[in-house]
Amino acid sequence: MSVRDLLSPFIAWKHLFREPVSIRDPFNREASERYRGFHQNDVEKCIGCGTCEAICQNGAIDMVIVEGVEGIKTRPGDSGLRPRIDYGRCCWCALCVDVCMTSSLTMSNAYKWVENDPDKFRYIPGVDKKEWDNVKQGYHRPDGHRLNAPERIEMPELEPAERIDSFVEIVGGYSVEQARLEADRCVTCGICVATCPTHMPIPEYISAVRDGDYERGLKLLYDSNPFSQICGKVCTRRCETTCAASHEGDPIAIRWLKRHITEQVPYEKYRDIIGGPLPATGKKIAIIGAGPAGMTAAFDLARKGHEVSVYEARSHAGGMTRYGIPEYRLPFETIQREIDLIVSMGVEMHYDTRVGTDIQMQQLQQDNDAVLLAIGLWLGRGTRIPGADHPHVYKAIDLLRRIRDGEQLEAPKSMVVIGGGNVAMDIARSVARLQKQQQGEINVTLTALEDKAHFLADPVEIKESIEEEINIIDSRGPQECVSDDQGKLVGLRSWKVLSIFDDQHRFAPTYDESDEQLHPGEWIVEAIGQMSDVSLLGDALTEKLEWDRGRLQVDDDGHTSEPWLWAAGDCVKGPDIVSAVATGHSVATSIEAMFEQKEAQNA
């Protein structure tokens, strides 16, 4: 116990002369730049996908309906719900901010909230006004910090050089490992289901891919879409446009995952996974046209046990999928497997029977309880510009059908395609392949009224066409099919289109006559539009039926004004295969409902 030990504590007195360290005004002290304070939510950017609720381990977030705030409405791509946060549960860990798919949920650095009534600690950020709503500082997701991978897993495809000279399928398909990685990116929010015309259970079958349980996945697929194999290859993927992941990265490859399921399950097991038809009910239904719409209705009704007979004008079923889409996008055996599966449900097929010539409409009406018209759009629209009646001016639909029928077409030296949709791309690339096979080099030009941004074709199609040396010239107004004096087609004269749509998206083209070009081409193919050939109805029936601007008028179940006649598919609604499947389903349910109603009446 030296003297030093007694005196050293008195050093503490030096603090008398030091500046006090107390914070003068602790009541409005600003928290740090990254402080995780109370939540803010940009309700326009938020799509109500519920991922923040899924990750919150305190169950602090409820997805609630928001009334009376303009800008928030249940619409495709937005569930109309907004997160309500319960500060009696929240621990401010900001996992919800990190996982937010549109990074609309952020945190201010406000931290003072004192209340007497405990029930007040619940609020919907962005909707209930709070004083920290537009505080700029606070925690935002650091850009390097992602809780799920933004990029899509690359799909193995043939190189342009390999695929250009053959009709072999371009897309290879995911391996099991790749599919599982891609399926792992899905946050199962289910926003895409409403956008898909047939409302397929997309999150459920993607989680089936994740678990590797392909039987369950296939059952889910075929419950809502009997054309899953075909849709897995050529669907227009509207679901991917509203996928929650598309806001901050690539959307989930839903189409490729659907295709992956159909490829992984051996074909023999399809039948027993999907299950057979119910016992016969004695009802007879005739379906005209074996396209996606007709065959879906046939599939549904046959499974219910009704006796279904399908009348197809061509020699193979599949409609536009069989005769409109070229081989390199949709091989024959996929279509054949799809059709065989549907036929195995007890559907009676009549090929090469054109209603109107081989069998009359009235006859169908008598010996069937219901008739479904699913004839699609088989006539190509022509531009009817001067010189368009030349024999070498074809319709894209007819050419594609002849190629798909296996006819050995003699490809021209050079060709011009008019039109910017998928059909134009298909015909351009098919003929390019024929040219490559027969002459070794490609000379195809594709012109369209619209500019490239407004092309109806799938952006992937446009990219692949350019890779296959098809030179695409956009914003060209076709003026005349020029032929030389011997009557041989020389090419297409067209003017530059300055602008094509006015501000209400109505067609109001402005031309620049000075910029006139002649596109050389021995053949000119028009792929500007399609219409349905309704001559098979016969004049009497055409008069009796109600029409709606050139198409059969149907209620939303597909029931025409005639009690015994339904209509579905392209000839009624929707440009793509999956809408045809959707209308097929609704017609099947409507027919079913009509049968039950009839039983109820006379029972």
């Binding site: 107390s22 621990c91 931290y111 003072k112 405990p118």
Partner: protein
Amino acid sequence: MKDDFEKLLDQQPEKEPEPQERPALRDIPVREELVPRTVTAPDGQEIRIDPLQDYYCQAGPTVQTPAYTRIIEDLFNWARAESLWILGFGTGCGAIEMRPLMTPRFDAYRYGIQWRPTPRQANLLVISGYLSVKTLKRAIRSYEQMQNPKYVVGLGSCTINGGMYWDSYNTIKRLDDYLPVDLYITGCMPRPEALLQGFDDLKKLIRAGKAEGANKYAENFERYKTNQKRVIKDWDMPDYSW
């Protein structure tokens, strides 16, 4: 937050919490030294001893109505508001943010707030976060031993609706089922500045005479006791240890 706070100050006593169904009480073996027993005194007289009843008075808490005129009551309330002596019982994780409060940096002493070790000298019980059942038993006992102008403040989200431990078998979910709470300060865990803001609002409450937690405890003493007994299984302490 400010405006509806003023609204509260002139508001009448707030609504009765909505009734909920209550599972049945559980019977738990009581420790043998607390079981009533009869003892024969040296002169042969039989004496019944009931440890839980004998040493404590049976009366429950009584409602303390303001006894003086308005002016003096305001003066008392002002005095009470200016000297919030917090019971130094850190029941949950929030207590660690009370330490900076009591030391020079945030220095709550300049607002009349300081830590007192025993419930006898404290008039504010701060439940700083989650409350496990064992601590709830001690917290209730401490609260009941505090003298009457006493207030309870709940910190953090655990006292409001269970917080992070919403599915735990050992923590209580709503503090106002078991103790009368005058004020909640949210945050996991609330910062010292938020605590000071909370205590400042508590002062306003006290000055306005609205901090009636103690009286509320006395009025529906039965409801609090049944809630407490339903959760605290080995209830081996007197009902009200004043």
